[in-house]
């Protein structure tokens, strides 16, 4: 026997009570794990945003178009190193339920601006520039539908139609886009803007938004000001911001996820703190005589304190790790079905480390008061002899 056995046996001497406390901690950490995974996935765009990249959208909102001519005009501005653009296609594959993130882009400039994020084979890059009907498919999409280079795939749009009335375009898969960094999502499809622009029935020569690289992050503010002032008082005024700010503003439309996580998890933790803390207080009070016996046998106060804290720490770790495990299962199960809305949903090491720190904090917080009471207990009083 050792102190751990003593702690373990004390904790599970009342199995139902221990089970209920573990279950409440399990629920709290399962909620934490899932919500934190969502929060991290939502904010991944901010973390990955390049410091020297700006995004220009229509000032009304980002769903409104901008003239194609802005692409050339911004490219010529001082401080702009590279610029590209994209147009939302509103695509789906075979069935509107099979929604696909699909962009019409200018091939060369898009691959140049996003070169740090995506790994595209040189022959695929060349084919994408050369072939009018070419499509580059993200690895996630390719794996999902089993597409490979050489396949011809029909993609439909829920927004646009062709001049002949058809809502579907045929594309030739010329390459697979792989991520260069762990958090980068590849759940999308790119195709040539020129092919799309020539064949669509309306909104010709308009684009969705521009992405540009500045020569240095230090001049971002100056470039932003120049762009927005250039197009001020025109039919298509612009709003330019850093990519990070743009991504943050985009996510803010869904609500303050971080605040939601903090409030829900905070409420769960405070509740559990009170439940477990109160239960442990009662449990230790019930065991006053046994604690006094330990002290009478010669167990010093510090060791008794550690034994009690050990119980609450063990309780928090058992419930917490089980909850985190459940959260990992849930996020893994939801990952594919939510890939279009919350790409990169996963319980990562950062969340696990934070959860472990919370488990230790919970264990210490709930055990502190009963442990101090045990420490202070007078042996004679505990034995009923004082």
């Amino acid at each position: 026997m050792n102190d751990f056995v003593l702690v373990f046996k004390n904790l599970f001497r009342r199995k139902l009570r221990a089970g209920l406390m573990i279950f409440s901690i399990f629920i709290a950490f399962a909620i934490f794990g899932v919500l934190a995974s969502f929060e991290r996935a939502f904010n991944a765009g901010q973390e990955l945003a390049a410091a020297d990249r700006l995004v220009t959208v229509n000032k009304i909102n980002f769903t409104q178009p901008l003239p194609y001519s802005y692409y050339g005009r911004i490219a010529g501005m001082e401080g702009v190193k590279r610029v590209t653009f994209a147009n939302w296609f509103g695509g789906y594959y075979q069935d509107p339920k099979q929604f696909l993130i699909t962009f019409a882009v200018e091939p060369r400039s898009y691959m140049d601006v996003m070169a740090e994020e995506f790994d595209i084979a040189p022959d695929a890059q060349a084919a994408f520039v050369r072939t009018r009907t070419a499509a580059l498919v993200g690895e996630t999409v390719a794996n999902k539908y089993g597409w490979k280079v050489g396949d011809r795939v029909p993609l439909s749009s829920s927004i646009f139609s062709q001049k002949n009335g058809a809502r579907s375009w045929d594309f030739d898969v010329v390459g697979i886009i792989k991520p260069k960094k762990p958090l980068i999502d590849t759940n999308f499809v790119l195709f040539q803007y020129e092919y799309f622009n020539e064949t669509r029935s309306f909104a010709k020569d308009t684009i969705g938004w521009l992405v540009l690289q500045t020569t240095s992050p230090a001049i971002n503010d100056k470039v932003i000001k120049t762009i927005d002032e250039t197009f001020a008082n025109s039919p298509f005024e612009t709003a330019t911001d850093t990519e990070k700010a743009f991504n943050k503003a985009f996510m803010a439309q869904l609500g303050n996820i971080a605040l939601i996580v903090t409030l829900v998890v905070g409420a769960a933790f405070v509740t559990i703190l009170m439940i477990v803390g109160n239960t442990m207080m009662m449990a230790i009070r019930e065991r006053s005589r046994e604690i006094a016996v330990l002290k009478a046998l010669g167990f010093p106060g510090g060791r008794v304190l550690r034994l009690v804290l050990g119980e609450t720490l063990l309780l928090a770790l058992i419930g917490g790790l089980a909850g985190l495990g459940a959260a990992a299962l849930v996020t893994t199960a939801m990952r594919e079905s939510l890939a279009n809305f919350v790409p990169g949903l996963a319980l990562n090491a950062q969340i696990v480390v934070l959860a472990l720190a919370l488990m230790v904090a919970l264990g210490l917080a709930t055990g502190l008061m009963p442990a101090v009471n045990a420490l202070r207990l007078k042996v004679a009083a505990g034995l009923g002899r004082g």
């Binding site: 026997m1 046998l297 106060g301």
Partner: protein, 231 residues
């Protein structure tokens, strides 16, 4: 008073406050218990029998005077020093056994050894020996709820002697047992005293129990009176 006493009380004063009244239990109490003695302490309720055991066990403090056990002054020691003193020198046997219900007999007996540097195998040997001494070698894996009161008290005695303490302090060790079982337990204590030389101080109300001791001290009004119960 013997010069070679294992336990020595000199001018011990102890009292407590009840409401606004101060009640004295001992006034300048002296006592010497030599090594290998088996002393029964009797006296009316409230005479201070249990307080005496608490003082000897280092779980209560004197108001004045000195207590020396095995050459060590224990009055005035800090709580941690008293814990070390108890672990090294004192074995307690309580009226209601006070075993840990979630531990087996062997694990209960092993508890004091967790405070020693003994290795697991050494601890196991000590536990087996202690249980054999009290005649419960075959009950090592039984839980307290699976044992009779007498067996539980034997386990408690094994726990008290497993770390080979210098003195056993027994507080009404047979108070919760029937006559036959009480005699068994007292027989065990007598064997420990006679054959293993353990020094025992036993508080009891029962004259029959006191007869197992080598001598009986009667405590009344804060002073000892030695009595010969056999007479």
């Amino acid at each position: 008073m013997s010069d070679h006493a294992l336990v020595r009380l000199e001018g011990v004063t102890k009292g407590f406050v009840k409401g606004q009244e101060s009640i004295a239990i001992f006034k300048a109490l002296d006592l010497a218990i030599p090594t290998g003695d088996f002393v029964a302490v009797m006296g009316p309720s409230g005479s201070g029998k249990t307080t005496l055991l608490n003082l000897l066990g280092g779980i209560d403090h004197v108001d004045a005077g000195a207590i020396t056990v095995a050459g060590q002054r224990i009055d005035g020691l800090s709580e941690n020093a008293l814990a070390r003193y108890r672990a090294a020198n004192v074995g307690f046997v309580f009226q209601f056994y006070n075993l840990m219900p979630m531990l087996t007999a062997a694990q209960n007996v092993e508890l004091p050894l967790l405070l020693t540097p003994l290795k697991k195998a050494q601890r196991r040997t000590h536990v087996e020996t202690a249980l054999a001494v009290v005649g419960l070698a075959d009950r090592a894996k039984h839980y307290p709820r699976e044992m009779s009161g007498g067996q539980q008290q034997r386990v408690a005695i094994a726990r008290a002697i497993v770390s080979d303490p210098k003195i056993l302090l027994c507080d009404e060790p047979t108070g919760d047992l029937d006559r036959a079982t009480a005699d068994e337990i007292l027989g065990v204590l007598q064997t420990l005293n006679r054959e293993l030389g353990k020094t025992i101080v036993m508080v009891t109300h029962d004259p029959a129990a006191a007869r197992y001791a080598k001598r009986t001290l009667h405590l009344d009004k804060g002073q000892f009176f030695e009595k010969d119960l056999a007479a």
